[in-house]
Symmetry: C2
Subunit: 168 residues, 2 copies
């Protein structure tokens, strides 16, 4: 297990997501990692991402717009699910057949207005891990205050979305 | 009741939302309306919005990214809540004190991949209407197929978010 971002292990054909794809130059390019207890000790049930939204993503001036927060939670959730799937199968992330997850359901609670101009921290934990379904509970903090909580019910990407690729 | 978009009735100070604000030149500028049975007959429990996302909002090539879909549902929900609040108080939309809603919770189910390059239609219906809390159930369709269902639990914007404005 290394410190490479989960999204950097996605195959090129599946790296166009506006929220987290390396191949989407207009998008957010969120990066998710295993959280580490120290430099050498990853926590195997906790993931982390950090992101500072641009000020254009306004709700009302001074606060981040809810759609951006939902997007960050969504992409941190599917990325975390993919990483956990590889981990639980004892496989190197990115190896074939690909274990890429999509969102079946996304449940968000906005607990406090999220300030702009601040690095947001997303912490993911796993409440269910099955072969084709992984549930990730995510807490989003700004200035150490919990602003948003979300749950991503991630499902293994159906073959119909993989098209004619050689990833399956 | 006229055919003006709900978001066009928001006061200028509260029109910066990336999803639906007239004053956000980078954003989506979603427009929501009462759905009409015919030209002169609005349906007082149903709202509608139409939007065709740009192809940059990709999940994987060919499909719209879930964060965009969550954003559209979010803004259609809060816009619909505002319109319903004015309607149920018998007031003209946009009149003061302002009845602007924010999202307390957002629950989304992605039922089918949403194709790109297609006009998406969002239909909103109200399952709960109280003075400070309105619940909007939203169905998002592409090519007449239901792709996403969402529920927005909208709450009246707290005065702490209105700042020093004269809107309250």
């Amino acid at each position: 297990m290394n410190k490479q971002a989960f999204q950097d292990c996605y195959p090129d054909e599946l790296s166009h997501c506006y929220g987290c794809g390396n191949n989407n130059e207009h998008g957010h390019q969120l990066k998710s990692y295993w959280q580490h207890f120290d430099e050498h000790t990853p926590l195997k049930n906790t993931t982390i991402a950090r992101y500072t939204p641009s000020d254009v993503y306004t709700a009302i001036p001074g606060f981040v717009y809810g759609g951006m927060l939902a997007s960050l939670i969504d992409c941190h959730g599917t990325g975390s699910a993919s990483a956990m799937a590889y981990l639980s199968q004892g496989r190197e992330m990115g190896s074939l057949p690909v274990l890429r997850f999509v969102t079946g359901a996304l449940n968000i609670r906005y607990l406090a207005p999220t300030p702009q101009g601040v690095e947001l921290v997303l912490i993911g934990r796993f409440s269910e891990v099955k072969n084709r379904k992984i549930v990730v509970d995510i807490t989003l903090l700004a200035n150490d205050v919990v602003c948003v909580k979300g749950q991503v019910i991630a499902v293994l990407m159906p073959e119909s979305m993989l098209g004619n690729s050689t990833l399956s």
